[in-house]
Amino acid sequence: MINLIWLLLLAGGIFYAGSTGRIEAVTPSAIAAAENAVTLAFKLTGVMCLWLGMMKIAERAGLVRLMSFIIGPFIRRIFPSVPPNHPAMGAIVMTVSANMLGLGNAATPLGIKAMQELQKLSRDRETATPAMCTLLALCTTGVTLVPATVIALRAAAGSTDPAEIVGSTLAVGLVAATAALTVDRICRALYGGRGR
């Protein structure tokens, strides 16, 4: 599926540019995007190191266990295939906590860490497990209590009440997360029938 989407974006774009006389836009945009990817990866490295360092302190101080105590029962129900004491569970708990607090740049490194921990539970190194897809569903929707970036944007645009969208964002986040988790369950059942 990802192969088809990728091909559709790339080949579709090139054909489209060719047919509308914009073919000269393709090369610079492809090169700029490739360079941009490397810059982005390096930028992420710094943030990644920062939050993984914090995560290690939190782990040793027992803070991860504390968070697990609070939202763990809920997470364990969504990830039945992950053993409760596996490091993956702690990483998932921290990812969801960071997402809820609106700590966007902390959520990505922690989510990556969680994905890598889930990989250790997987037998097939190259194919996503059901738990990984569930984690993705949680991360792409995410219930955000404090959408910090949006509030800042609105304040900068001169809003009289920048935070008034907190309620609507939370409500939409809940519905979207529920929808993503439902589709995840349906897909899991459908794909489960095909062996893996």
Binding site: Y16, A41, K56, A106, V146, S168, Y191
Partner: protein, 179 residues
Amino acid sequence: MFALICELLSAWAIPLVLLLIPLAGYLRRVRVYEAFVEGAAEGFQTAVRIMPFLVAMLVAVGVFRASGALDDCVALLKPLLSVFGVPPELVPLALLRPLSGTGALGMTTELLASEGPDSLIGRMASTILGSTDTTFYILTVYFGAAGIRNPRYAVVVGLAGDITGFFMSIYICRLLFSP
């Protein structure tokens, strides 16, 4: 009042986390500096590992946008979606949201400037940006870092979340903010 608390919270959230974790660690007799460095060391290999995945995805999205195909998809979808009560101004944001985080951020900034942050469209755009995420970026980076090449049905799951988020944002904002 609530707005002030939220603004304070968004300014203080990260500093507080950066303060409280090491402080709690120190009080629990963790060797904080050593633990930090040990954890941070894991961060480096990740950058190298996700690079090929990021290059693949960003190039495809970049070419698709530069070709003008995205803009024409928007033009095509506008009349179709307006049947469902979607304001045409929000259609570009809907298509860009799962593909490009910075793109969606820029588009929201533009909408907030042109429509006003306290207009219905401004509130809808803010809610869309706050409640959904860049599915393709997350998919690329998270799965790339774990070395997953075949994400199976994860794309469908992520996009289902985005589509629900988009339509629910419009519906709930109408419900909450319409005069």
